[in-house]
Amino acid sequence: MIPLTRRDFALGLGAGIAAARFGTARAATTPRRGGTLIATWGGLEPQALFVPAGGGSSPLLTSSKMLERLARMNFDFTFSPALATSWSISPDHTEYTLELRPNVTWHDGQPFGAEDVVFSVAEYWSPISSGEAWKQLDGVEAKGPLTVHIRFKRPVPEFYFFSALTSQGGAVLPKHVYAGRDIITNPANNQVIGTGPWKFDKWVRGSHIELVRNEHYWNPTLPYLDRLIFRYLRSPAERAAAMEAGEIQLGVFNTLSPPDTKRLAATGKFDVTTKGYENAQWASTIEMNTRNPIFAKREVRQALLYAIDKKFIAETIFYGFAKPAVGPIGSSNTMFFSPDMPHYPFDPKKAAAMLDAAGYPRKANGKRFSANLLAAGWFEVNGNIGSYVKQCLNDIGIDVNLTVPDRPTSIKRIYTDYDYDIALSNWANPAEPVPSTTQYYTTSGIIKGAAFRNATGFSDKAMDALVDKLTFEVDPAKRKLLARDFARLVMTEVPISPLVEIESVTVANKRVHNHSDSPDYMADSWGDLWLEA
C-alpha cells in the first residue's frame, strides 16, 4: 500500500487522493484481455522511436515498450530477472556472468541469444549509451548460447552494475539488425525490433504512435491489451480535456497542470499517484558559473542559497507538487539518501552579511554586483522560478538580468558557450549516483558542448577523489557513507545544487490496472497493463 505523504495533505486533496492512492494499489480482479489503451505524457512527440544515445524521456517512453533490458529494478532497489534469468559475481567484483532467458525471439522471429548481449555491451552500451558507466570494461564474451561473461579492469559495485543494466541506456539491441551499420543513424531506430511485449505498428507524425501486442512474447500471459497507443497533445489543457472525455486513459510524467491534476483527482474517477518515479528524481537546480570570479567564491554561492526561499518555490510556484531539496541525492532514493546535509534556510540578512564578508558590500547605488540569470526555457515553470529568484537577489543588492531562452538557446548558452552567471535548470537523477549525478561535479564532467554535465567549471581534487572512491567501493555500507560524504561536499561547495525536488505525477482512469508498478515506470515495458470493461 502506498503511504500518503505530507504533500498530499498540503495539496488539500484529502479523501479524494487517498481514494485515488488506494485505487492504484487496489486488488485487481482477474486481468481482462484485449482492448486498446491510449496513453500520453507531459512532453512532446519523440524525435525518433528509439534514440540510441538517450534522447530524453519521449523516445525512452516508446522504445522501452519494445526493447527490453536484462533486469528490472524493484521499488526496494533490488533487481528482478528480465532477459537475464540469473547472474553470478566474482569475489573481487571484476567479473559478472549472466544466464539469459531461453526461447526468446525478436519481433522479426530471429532468436535472441548471448551474441546480442555481447554486441550490445561492446558496440552500444559502452561506446554510445552509457560509456561513463562502462568505462572500466575489459572484455565481454559469449560463454555459450545463453551465457555472457563480462570482465572489468577494476571492481564494479553490484548496485552500480545492475543500475547500468536497468538504466535508460541498457536496452538490448538485435545484433542481426544493427551489426555493421551506424547505430545512431540506423533506420531501425524508427522501425524498432525488440523482444518486448509490444511491437511497432505505425507512427502518424504529429499525432500518435501505435503498438500492437507481441503474440510471441516470452511471457505467454502478457501483454493483456491488444493495442497500446501513445497520443501526443501539446498543451496540458488539451490533455486534461482528453482525459476527462475518456479519450486518454493514462497520463504519465506530469501530463496535466497542477490545478487540473487536483481537479481530476477530486472527481474520484482517476488514480493520481507520485509512485513510479523513484529511480528518476527530478529537481529544479541552480548552478553558478565558477568561471566568473564572483561565483568562484564558495561564500557567494552559499549566500545566494540563503537568499532564496525554497519552500515558497515548492508551495507557490509548484502548487505543492514539489518540496525543498536536501541534497543532490533525492529523498526518494532510499538506497543513498541522507538527510544529514549542510542546509541553507531562507535568511536574506545572513545572505547579505555573507556577501559583505566576501568583499561585495552594497555600493552607493545600493547594488553589490550584476549577474546574468538564465532560466532554461525547456520547462515553462523555470521562467516563473527565474522571476522569483530575480526578486530574491535584487532584495540582497544583486542586479539581475533575467533571460528565459528557448530550449536550443538555453542548451547552447549553458553547456557550450557557458554564457551565464547563474542558471536555473533541471536534472533527473537515478538511484545510482555514478555517473549521472557525480558528473555535474567532477573535473571529467566538464565537456564543452555536452549537455547536462558539469557546466559550472567547478573542479576540485577532493571531489574527484571522493567520486573515484564511490565509483569503485564494492561494500554497500561503505558506499552509502561515501555517497553521503559526496552529497555533503556538494552541499558545501554548491556550484550546482537542487532547489526543490519536483514530484512527478501519473494520472490514470480508474479503468486502468497495474500502472505505476516500478520505480522508473515510464521506462517499464507496460506489458501487464489492463483495462476494465
Binding site: G206, S235, G449, R453
Partner: protein
C-alpha cells in the same frame, strides 16, 4: 493574335513567383540563422552526443562549416531542384514530411474558409436584406463577438462544451485512435473531428465576411442597375441573388485572397490547439527544435500556397465581373 486574359494572368503570376520565392528564402534563412542556438545544439543534446569528433563530423555532414552566404546559395540551388533538404527531426526529406502533413492542413483550411464564406456571406445577405431589424442586430452582435474572440480561446471553449461536457465531439486529433472501419466510417470520423477546428478557424473570418458582405450589399442596392432590374419587374429575391449578391461578392473575394496567408497562420494555431496533424504542428515543432530545413520548406510552401490562392482569386474576378482588366 491577342493572348487570352487567363493565360496572360498565369504567365505574369509565374514570372512574379521567382523573385518572390527567392525573397522568402533569403529573408527566412537570415531570420532563422539570426536566432541563437542551432539544430545541431538540439540534436546533440537530444542524443547526448558528447564526442567532439562526432560533433565536428555532424557539422560537416549538415554543411554547417560553410560560411552563411554559401549555405544560403546552396539552399537556393537545392530549392530550384525541388530539394527542400533533410529534416533531422522528422528523419526524412522535408518535401516528404510536408507532403505527409499537407492534406490535413488543406482539409482544415478549406473547411474553415468554406464555412467562413458560407456563414459570413449568408449572414451578410440576411443583415443587408433585413436591415434595421432584429436579424440585422443579431448578425452585427455575433460578428463583433466572433471577430473579437481569439481563435485559440474559442477552440478551447468549444472543446470544453462539446467534447468534455456534452461529449458530442472528440477533443482533438484527426481520427479516432484505435478505431477500425471502412472508408465511409473513416470519412465520417474525420468529419466529426473536423467540426470544432473548422468552427474555431472559420468563425473569425465569417464575422469579417458578414460585415463586409453587409456593407457591400447595401452599396450595391443603391446602384442604378438594381433599380433597372426592379423596374423590369424582376422579383426581389431574383434581384438580390442574381444581381446584387454577385456584384457585392467582389470585396469578399478580395479579402479572401488577402487573407490566405493569415488563414494559413491561423491554422497553425488551431492545429496546435486541436492536435490536428498538419503543417502547423510540423512548423511549431520545427521552430522549437531549430529544424531549419523544415521551417524554410514550410515557408516556401506557404508562399506558394498564397500565390496560388491569389491566382485563384484573380480568376474568380474574371468570372464574377468580366469587365475587369487583367494586369
Amino acid at each position: 493574335m491577342p493572348e487570352r486574359p487567363v493565360l496572360r494572368l498565369l504567365r505574369r503570376r509565374l514570372l512574379q513567383l521567382i523573385p518572390l520565392l527567392i525573397g522568402v528564402v533569403v529573408v527566412n534563412f537570415c531570420l532563422i540563422h539570426a536566432a541563437p542556438g542551432s539544430f545541431l545544439d538540439v540534436m546533440t543534446s537530444d542524443n547526448q552526443v558528447t564526442d567532439p569528433a562526432l560533433i565536428a563530423r555532424l557539422r560537416t555532414t549538415y554543411g554547417l562549416d560553410d560560411p552563411l552566404w554559401l549555405q544560403l546559395l546552396k539552399y537556393i540551388a537545392a530549392v530550384a531542384h525541388l530539394d527542400l533538404g533533410f529534416s533531422y527531426r522528422q528523419n526524412m526529406p522535408v518535401f516528404d514530411a510536408i507532403l505527409a502533413h499537407l492534406p490535413a492542413t488543406l482539409i482544415l483550411m478549406l473547411s474553415g474558409l468554406g464555412l467562413a464564406v458560407l456563414v459570413g456571406v449568408t449572414a451578410g445577405i440576411i443583415a443587408a436584406v433585413k436591415i434595421d431589424t432584429i436579424w440585422d442586430s443579431i448578425v452585427s452582435v455575433l460578428a463583433v463577438v466572433f471577430f473579437a474572440t481569439p481563435s485559440f480561446w474559442l477552440g478551447i471553449m468549444l472543446t470544453v462544451l462539446f467534447a468534455v461536457k456534452l461529449r458530442w465531439l472528440p477533443v482533438g486529433d484527426m481520427t479516432t485512435l484505435g478505431a477500425d472501419g471502412g472508408t465511409l466510417a473513416q470519412l465520417l470520423d474525420v468529419l466529426r473531428h473536423l467540426v470544432l477546428p473548422a468552427l474555431s478557424l472559420g468563425l473569425f473570418y465569417a464575422a469579417i465576411y458578414a460585415r463586409v458582405m453587409r456593407s457591400s450589399m447595401l452599396e450595391v442596392f443603391r446602384l442604378d442597375f438594381v433599380r433597372t432590374a426592379r423596374a423590369k419587374g424582376l422579383s426581389a429575391a431574383r434581384v438580390t441573388l442574381a444581381h446584387v449578391v454577385r456584384n457585392a461578392l467582389l470585396p469578399v473575394v478580395t479579402m479572401l485572397g488577402l487573407q490566405m496567408g493569415t488563414v494559413l497562420a491561423g491554422s497553425v494555431v488551431i492545429e496546435t490547439v486541436f492536435a490536428w496533424p498538419g503543417i502547423g504542428t510540423l512548423l511549431f515543432d520545427a521552430v522549437s527544435t531549430r529544424d531549419y530545413p523544415m521551417v524554410l520548406g514550410i515557408m516556401v510552401l506557404g508562399s506558394l500556397m498564397v500565390v496560388a490562392a491569389n491566382l485563384a482569386i484573380d480568376l474568380c474576378y474574371l468570372w464574377l465581373d468580366p469587365r475587369i482588366e487583367v494586369g
